[in-house]
Symmetry: C2
Subunit: 707 residues, 2 copies
Amino acid sequence: MIRHLDPAQLSVLRQVGRGWARVSATPEAAREALPVDPNLGRFPTREELAPAGTGRVVEMPGLSGQIPAPDEAEGPWSTRWGLGLRRMLLGAPLKNTAITHESMRKAIALPVLSADALSSVAYGPEAMLTILVLAGAAGVTYSLPIAAVIVFMMLALGISYRQTIRAYPHGGGSYIVSSANLGRGPGLFSAAGLMIDYVLTVAVSISAGMAAMVAVFPGLHSAIVPIGVLVILLLLAGNLRGIRQAGLLFAMPTYAFMLAVFGVVVVGLIHPFGQAPSSAGQHSVTESVGLLLILRAFASGSTAMTGIEAISNAVPVFRSPAWRNARTTLTWMIGILICLFLGIMVLAHIVDVIPVAGETVLSQLARRSFGDGVLFWFTQIATAGVLMLAANTAYNDFPRVLFLMARDDQAPRIFLRFGDRLAFSNGIIVLSVAAAAVYIGFGGVTAALIPLYAVGVFLAFTLSQWGMVMHWWRRRESHWRKSLAFNAAGAVLSAVVLLIAAVTKFMAGAWVALVGIGLLVVTARLIRRHYQAVDKAVRLHPDAIELPVQPLPTPVGDPRVVSPPAGESEETPQDIQNFTVVGIPSIDLSSLRALAYAASLGQPVMALHISAGDEEAEQFRAYWGQWGNHVPLEVVVSPYRAIVAPMVRYLEALHRQNPNLTLTVVLPEIVARRRYRLLHSRTANRLRRALRPHPKIVITTIPFHVT
Amino acid sequence: MIRHLDPAQLSVLRQVGRGWARVSATPEAAREALPVDPNLGRFPTREELAPAGTGRVVEMPGLSGQIPAPDEAEGPWSTRWGLGLRRMLLGAPLKNTAITHESMRKAIALPVLSADALSSVAYGPEAMLTILVLAGAAGVTYSLPIAAVIVFMMLALGISYRQTIRAYPHGGGSYIVSSANLGRGPGLFSAAGLMIDYVLTVAVSISAGMAAMVAVFPGLHSAIVPIGVLVILLLLAGNLRGIRQAGLLFAMPTYAFMLAVFGVVVVGLIHPFGQAPSSAGQHSVTESVGLLLILRAFASGSTAMTGIEAISNAVPVFRSPAWRNARTTLTWMIGILICLFLGIMVLAHIVDVIPVAGETVLSQLARRSFGDGVLFWFTQIATAGVLMLAANTAYNDFPRVLFLMARDDQAPRIFLRFGDRLAFSNGIIVLSVAAAAVYIGFGGVTAALIPLYAVGVFLAFTLSQWGMVMHWWRRRESHWRKSLAFNAAGAVLSAVVLLIAAVTKFMAGAWVALVGIGLLVVTARLIRRHYQAVDKAVRLHPDAIELPVQPLPTPVGDPRVVSPPAGESEETPQDIQNFTVVGIPSIDLSSLRALAYAASLGQPVMALHISAGDEEAEQFRAYWGQWGNHVPLEVVVSPYRAIVAPMVRYLEALHRQNPNLTLTVVLPEIVARRRYRLLHSRTANRLRRALRPHPKIVITTIPFHVT
């Protein structure tokens, strides 16, 4: 993160340096003259940096060699009570050394990385049928053809992402691939689409998971919003703790879900004419079959494709040879996804299950296959489990996208920071707030959220695949033609889905996602523009500095004569004309300490007191005389207790007298325990805020500790 | 607010002053040597203090001569956008001169100051009947005897408060009277009771007002919580604007309400056998008549007495002779209150109206007297209006109690501050938040709030009346025996009501109010104890200082030799050993400016850079050399980007080397427009927070403005 200097900047730097008067004969002498020895060895050691706790964290894919380090405790947690709560919820801070590169076997990587994709079959088929059933039995007959198209899409995307894995063995997220091959703009759109998508992944997964549980416990129905929010809070706390998607615990829900759905399908097909579900034949026709309806159904059903990109993002977590193992796993995942999806669609078609209020399609099928017993419960709980896991995936991916954007100056730099549990706390918090807002706003209803979903994903898919096309075209490595063709097919198909989804579901909610993407892109551009403007402003450019080649002596004579502001430099000490004003609220130890500090700097100093009335002002001046009148005092009478406003006006007027002055305002500050903080005047903060627009005004508080 | 010094403190002050080395020959010479002329005349003028806007504000009773002045804009409003919104909602800032003493005619003062008391008849009778009806027709027969007792109480309290008015012509609020005559503890309990009461006045008045409107528009029923919150927000905005309870606009609702209730009663009594209300005879008996039930009914009915104290708080707003006019008005008010209360009780008894869900008793009576026409609507709207006005009364009284407590160090000093619309903004905001929380928590249901109410009021009544007894006993002015007797009667009766309310309604909710009062008292005591501890710590006491009588020369020789910490003084400049560390994130103009500032102070200075790796550290040192190595540099290598943690550890270790040093940490700070503030590193704030526990560490930021 060092700012590298080009020759022009170096020349400016040397020029500035020549303007400095030498204080000591040699740099070594200057160092010797310090009141302490600044060399404390290699400081701090890694152990000192974060002294407590242990833990194990998998290195995050796509960030190789760029993992930031844990920072100190901060924010609302920093009271002692808050710290206790924080430790209880989040655990002790982790050492840096806890960042290790852990590789995953395929048998673990498959369930962990597939949760998002596979869990989609819990809501995708249902979303499609919900649209088709609007046209009654005639509409539902289109379910299998549409499913066939979606399966074709899954295959095409799978093959397409196999190419990405080969080309980006260090992880090829959409933002990375689009930015690298298509440029900053497409990269931004890709990132915005992904971010919207991750928020919706959390909201949709939790709402679908709640629906699965409601099928078991119908009494939960009225409480899905508060329970869902609770789940988001759990995910928030768990991810702030730094839980990573690894290990058997995270593999189990996916395998359980796979097993359950296979069971539902196989048992259901063996007894295709078993007890018909109660809902069969209850079609109430409200629309006729038409192209628009079919396209809407397709767009809704294509939410079943979300999550396919996960493996290509995460290539480095595989055992060596990583990219080969990742490709194999991707193939498995696509195969399983297609089986589950097709199985559900075919079974639903044969037994004529349609979406009804209060019970999901998958739950109806499970009830029909297994009855109301243990197997039914197992299916529902596995479904809720895999959906939780899918939501958790977004907690890994969303902060990573923000990190990558922040690295490119396109997001606030606070997203570069690691919390003390080695997690991107700020991104995790932002995701939780956004997901909770969306979840509450749409009442936790999956069907209401579906129209927003998929737009962001397919935008990212399209740009990422198109970026791969450009990649192959430029590189022309071996097999580039085949890879380019596959990626081009993926790009075109994704674009078609994107178009269909955006147009057919525009009014139903897709516009919200599109507006969200647009706002994110515009914001990111504004952020980047601002960071660049700041970089330009602080850069060492020759125009910024007008310096004499030889150092001038410190100005003598009447200092009240204002030297011309043009050519005034602030980069050399002897050109800085210091003046210190000490604000004295009353005569006590804290004020005397502030006065002594200001005077000890050896610069011109005065004291300022705001008094409530003329009599009190006289009294204060008398005390001042008793003390010895060592510092010129000015008393401003401000009736009615106002402190900050008259101070600001006075300081502004003083500075107007001589704008070349660097005005240091010194204030005493009572430092008490945190719990008493609200009891003490925030004069310094308010003064700082009020004087913020003025250059050359420095505000310093001198702490006085009360124990 | 000047801190007065006793002779011992003055002697310490002189001793400290003798420790200072003389800088100039005379104070006049020192003043002449300043780079500016500190004398800016009487500054700022009143006009400068708050330059815009006009307005008229009635001086608040009980604060004569102590009105604080408007402060600057601040808080969440201080962005430009926020400022626009603030101006729209709250209006332009008011001049100080807008504080005028405006006196009210009795015909205006009566409705304005009686709104709280008179509006109580909108819920008091109903609250009593709600309890009695639990015992069916047998219970309801007790309504008139209980009403008679309450009327007797009203008379007694009225006479009692007439004594207070005479004794406290500048306003005799319960806090003032109890503190002055009974001491700090009773004063605190009185204030806590009042504060709880004002919160409940807002919540109960709004819920009762909503009930009145629901009778007209039954569709509102499901939305009473959001609409009620909206009303609280309106009161908040209106009171932040500085609306005062004066003028015809505020008089109208009360007169309209009086007129309406008289009409309802008179018409109802003329046609006592008109159309019976639908609810008559629907008693469903769940309890039997017993002493407890009757006492509970009495306690609930005594909520009709709330607000009686208003006039005695506000004596100074009356025209001269204020106390006489106030007494006359109080007599009128009590008379009208008794008429309205008795009228409603008698009519309800005759026509056998009992509380039903969805319609208030008053509304049933009005419907019976007037039908569903214009007069019925008028009654309901007048009821809602007077209840709004009653809620608004609490917005005047609650912040005043907090102000008085803060003046006595028993509440945070932020409640001493005036907003720029001459209103106690902080108190108004606290009241709104508390009232909204209570209102939402109890679902906006008056019946649920009633058990909490009255406990606080009658605690304050009791203490205030008892305080008056002590007042007469000590003063023994003319007629003191009669006054003492009246006040003693009031005190005893109030205490009885308090006891009955607290015991009979304890489980129903009174415990909440009692716990609230207890917490407030404990908090206030802790606050006072803290303020006193701070005052003691900063006081000029001889133990705090060990000074040589003659000033010592600045210590010479090897500064690294640590002088013994005992007897170390921080009150004289020559005893302060300064050392400045400049944190340099990268080599740019903002950093060079910070370096130049630090060097310009002429104290020992070093630079500290946190580097991400050894190579980058080498590069940074090379740049430093190019610049000229003017300041000793220390580079700390911190892998993984952490900045603040290694800085804190380094500075702590440095300070440990030589604890006598006063360490000034100088950091460059980018100052951009407010909207970009989140984009910039808060390193200084985080460092300040982390180093807060360490004495003798001063953090200074040097602003670099980017436009």
